[in-house]
C-alpha cells in the first residue's frame, strides 16, 4: 500500500563515479581477456607448429634413415657395379687376351665363358699346332685343362678345350 502522493525518483547504484569505475574495470578486464585470448591463440599456434615440426622431424628422421639405407644400397650397388665393371673390363681384357692367345692357324667356333672355367670349341690343323700354340698359354692361366679332338671332314681336327680355375688355389694365392 502506498502512502506517498508521489513516487520516488528512480535510484540507481550506477552513479557517474561507479560508471567510470565500471568502465575502467571493464576495459581493463577486456584488455586482460583479449591478451589472455591472444596468448592462448599464440600458444595454440606455437603448440600446433611445434607438433608439426616434431612430426616433420620424425618424418625427416625416417626419411633420413631410409635415404641412408638407400645410399648404402646404392653404394653397394655402385661397388657391385664397379666390381662388375672391373670384372667386365678384366673379362674384356681376358677375352682380348684370349683372342690374342688364339693363333691365326686355329679357328675358334664357340667359346663358353663360365664362372670358373672356359670351354673353347674350334678347329685346328693338327694336335701339335693346338698343343704348342694354344694349350700351352691356357695351361699357364688355368689350373686344369682338358682337351679332346675329333676329326673334321677336311682332315683338320675339331677340338674341345675345357679349362678350370680351382677355388682353393685362388685362395691360397691371395
Amino acid at each position: 500500500m502506498k502512502h506517498s502522493y508521489i513516487t520516488p525518483r528512480h535510484k540507481s547504484a550506477l552513479t557517474q563515479d561507479v560508471q567510470l569505475l565500471l568502465s575502467f574495470f571493464t576495459i581493463t578486464i577486456l584488455m586482460l581477456f583479449s591478451t589472455y585470448t591472444f596468448l592462448i591463440y599464440k600458444n595454440y599456434v606455437f603448440t600446433s607448429e611445434k607438433e608439426t615440426v616434431i612430426i616433420e622431424k620424425n618424418q625427416l628422421k625416417v626419411s633420413l634413415s631410409s635415404m641412408k639405407s638407400k645410399i648404402e644400397y646404392i653404394e653397394k650397388q655402385k661397388m657391385l657395379s664397379e666390381g662388375i665393371y672391373t670384372k667386365n673390363i678384366v673379362l674384356k681384357d681376358s677375352m682380348v687376351n684370349l683372342f690374342d692367345l688364339v693363333p691365326t692357324r686355329i679357328t675358334l667356333s664357340e667359346a663358353k665363358l663360365q664362372e670358373k672355367g672356359l670351354i673353347l670349341y674350334g678347329i685346328t690343323p693338327n694336335k701339335d699346332v693346338y698343343n704348342f700354340m694354344l694349350q700351352a698359354p691356357l695351361r699357364s692361366i688355368f689350373h686344369r685343362t682338358y682337351s679332346s679332338f675329333y676329326p673334321a671332314k677336311n682332315g683338320w681336327l675339331h677340338f674341345v678345350s675345357t679349362n678350370y680355375i680351382d677355388e682353393e688355389d685362388i685362395a691360397s694365392e691371395h
Binding site: H3, S4, Y5
Partner: protein, 338 residues
C-alpha cells in the same frame, strides 16, 4: 538482480524535511539493511532550500545513491474522507482538483494538485521522493490506538492541526486546520496558495463559530456535576490504564503567554471542528470521549486542561518526532515498493 545486489552494498539515507513555523528542520537517518547507523538533525532558519541546506544534505547523500527525501504535506486543501468508494468520495469533497489515495480500502486522503506541484517545485533543488499526508502519519503513529473505540487523534504542528476521528480503524472524520496563520505567513508559497490558506481559515472559523451555537445539544449529557463520578464508569477506568502509558509524555511544560495564546487557538479550533463533526449530517457523528495528541511542538499543559475541563475529553499526549516518523513512513513505502 544486479540492481538489488548493488543496492545491498550501499546504506540508505532518509532525508526528512520538517517545517515548523519559520524553521526548516532536516532530520537525517542513515540505515544499513537492518539497523539505524546514525541520525542527525539540524534546524535552519529559513523556509526555502538555500545553499546551507543543500550543502548539509549533500554532505550526507554523496556517499550513497540510495537516498530518499520525504516531506509532510503542508497543502491547505488537504483532508481525508471516510470512504474509498469513488462515487461516494465526491459526497464529502470535490476531488477534481485534488490528488487522492485510498488507505486500507477504508478511507481516502487527498490534497490539492496545484499545491502538491508547488511543494515539488519549491524543493526541486534537493528533490522530493515522498510527500506524506499528515493523516497517514497520524494513523501510523497511533496504529496501536485507532482500532479501539471512537477517539479524536490530532497531529499538532507549529501552525497546523491535523484532526481525525477513528473508530475501530474506520475513519469517521478528518480536517486539516491552520493555527495562527499570521505567524505562518513567512512561508514562501505562491500567492495562490496563500490566498487558499486565508480562504480556508476564514471559512472554517466562520462556519465553526456559527456551529458552536449548536453545541447546546451537549446539554443532553445532563447535569455537569454527574461527571464527577466519571472514573467509576468501566470504559473510563480502562482509559486510566492507557493514561499510564502516556505518563511520561504527560509531563508538559508550563505555558507562557505566547504558548497560552497558541494553545488556546488550538483548543478553539479543536472545539469548533468537533462541533462541526457533531452537526454535519454527512458524517456518522459519535460522541468523542478521548483525544490523543501527537505533539511535535511541545504543547503546554493549558491545552490539556482546556480540553479536559471545557470539553470533558480524556486527553493523552504523546510526543512525536516528525522527522523520525517520516523516516518510518519512507521505509514502509520502500518496503511496499519492493
Amino acid at each position: 538482480m544486479l540492481g538489488k545486489f548493488f543496492e545491498s552494498l550501499y546504506n540508505k539515507v532518509f532525508v526528512n524535511i520538517v517545517i515548523q513555523g519559520s524553521i526548516t528542520s532536516i532530520y537525517m537517518q542513515e540505515c544499513s539493511k537492518k539497523d539505524v547507523l546514525r541520525t542527525v538533525q539540524q534546524d535552519f532558519n529559513t523556509l526555502t532550500v538555500n545553499e546551507e541546506i543543500l550543502s548539509f544534505v549533500s554532505s550526507y547523500i554523496k556517499e550513497t545513491p540510495f537516498y530518499y527525501v520525504a516531506i509532510l504535506d503542508m497543502s491547505t486543501e488537504q483532508g481525508a474522507v471516510p470512504t474509498c468508494d469513488k462515487n461516494r468520495v465526491s459526497f464529502f469533497h470535490n476531488m477534481t482538483s485534488s490528488e487522492y489515495k485510498c488507505k486500507d480500502e477504508k478511507w481516502t486522503y487527498y490534497t490539492g494538485k496545484v499545491e502538491l506541484y508547488g511543494i515539488e517545485k519549491n524543493y526541486k533543488e534537493v528533490g522530493l521522493d515522498f510527500i506524506f499526508s499528515p493523516f497517514t502519519l497520524v494513523s501510523n503513529f497511533f496504529k496501536d490506538k485507532i482500532n479501539s473505540d471512537v477517539a479524536l487523534y490530532i497531529l499538532a504542528e507549529e501552525n497546523t492541526l491535523s484532526l481525525c476521528i477513528f473508530e475501530h480503524s474506520e475513519l469517521l472524520f478528518a480536517k486539516y486546520l491552520i493555527v495562527n496563520t499570521v505567524d505562518a505567513g513567512t512561508y514562501d508559497m505562491s500567492d495562490a496558495s496563500l490566498e487558499l490558506i486565508n480562504e480556508g481559515v476564514n471559512l472554517d472559523e466562520v462556519n465553526a463559530l456559527e456551529e458552536m451555537e449548536d453545541l447546546d445539544d451537549l446539554d443532553d449529557f445532563g447535569d455537569i456535576e454527574d461527571l464527577d463520578g466519571i472514573e467509576e464508569i468501566d470504559e473510563f477506568s480502562q482509559i486510566n490504564e492507557n493514561e499510564e502509558e502516556f505518563h511520561e509524555e504527560a509531563m508538559l511544560p508550563e505555558g507562557n503567554d505566547e504558548n497560552f495564546t497558541r494553545d488556546y487557538d488550538r483548543f478553539t479550533q479543536i472545539q469548533e471542528t468537533l462541533g462541526s463533526f457533531y452537526n454535519d449530517k454527512k458524517y456518522d457523528s459519535q460522541f468523542v470521549q478521548s483525544v490523543y495528541i501527537a505533539d511535535s511542538v511541545g504543547v503546554s499543559s493549558e491545552l490539556k486542561k482546556f480540553l479536559e475541563e471545557e470539553m470533558f475529553l480524556s486527553v493523552y499526549i504523546r510526543h512525536i518526532d516528525l522527522g523520525e516518523e517520516l523516516a518510518k513512513l519512507s521505509k514502509l513505502e520502500l518496503l511496499n515498493e519492493a
